[in-house]
Symmetry: C2
């Protein structure tokens, strides 16, 4: 798939077939994430990989979108390492850039993925389920699998609404 | 260029040839940005397009990296519309995802781009130079042009350092 086409055709995929995702595919996804830009090149992103269905079941209870986490063959909780953070806004932005790379790298491999943010309300519990230290702040969970069914493109504002000035 | 290859080969480009960038190329870049994911699909990103050299000169005075803004044929200040924001962290993350799409869409077209964040210290002055209202909060300036010279890949942490748990 072409890069520009990939940027325009990525969609949030919330239903998955049972077909498994390999560890190699996951590592390709994370490698793409690791090439996101970050301020001062601080690379604040950290990743967990959760294939285990029982652990996914426990994570699923921590969000309204638990069925997505249960249905996806693999979930990737994304964290920010507070020990390397330097600027709250810029660190959160670069984590967002990293997550976009994860989603695009899934798309590139014919996989579907969705960025789950509502689970941030349960950040402490997610860390507890995964047994992770307090310097790792939950930023999102990305659910990945083979898409099941068609995904409709959500509405987008017109470019003319988004361009506030041209000089 | 293939999507996965594009994710791995995008670099921050800070020096540019004088060759102009067309309005059509800029719109392709912004269109890709508009397809980033956002929480509740709130699409909080807004864009300015600055070709004008005199305006770029004024913006250049507001950051330590002014020479990049002066050398780039076009600069794209990116804003968050506070009126549609709903969650500080998630809005900043989705703006980061949008900026990553801008950088990747430049790369896809053979252009180079760099994400400038240091200018956030001068957010109010940037808004003043561009004559924009206070609900638009500066998030970054993306400088775009044809790359001049080679760009070295900055160091990246190994994947094994980034994966904090596998279950």
């Amino acid at each position: 798939m072409e890069l520009l086409e990939g940027l325009l055709t990525r969609r949030s995929v919330r239903t998955f077939t049972p077909e498994p995702v390999s560890r190699g595919q996951v590592l390709e996804i994370l490698r793409a994430g690791s090439w996101a830009p970050s301020g001062l090149n601080n690379q604040p992103w950290r990743f967990a990989i959760v294939f285990d269905a029982a652990v996914r079941g426990r994570l699923a209870q921590l969000t309204r979108y638990g069925r997505v986490i249960e249905a996806a063959p693999v979930c990737l909780p994304v964290f920010m390492d507070r020990e390397v953070g330097y600027h709250e806004v810029k660190d959160h932005q670069s984590i967002g850039a990293c997550i976009e790379n994860l989603l695009l790298a899934a798309h590139a491999q014919g996989l579907g993925a969705v960025w789950l943010g509502e689970i941030l309300k349960s950040a402490a519990e997610v860390r507890e389920v995964l047994g992770l230290p307090a310097n790792l702040e939950l930023m999102a969970v990305v659910a990945v699998g083979y898409p099941k069914g068609a995904v409709k493109a959500p509405a987008r504002r017109k470019l003319s609404e988004l361009i506030v000035k041209e000089l």
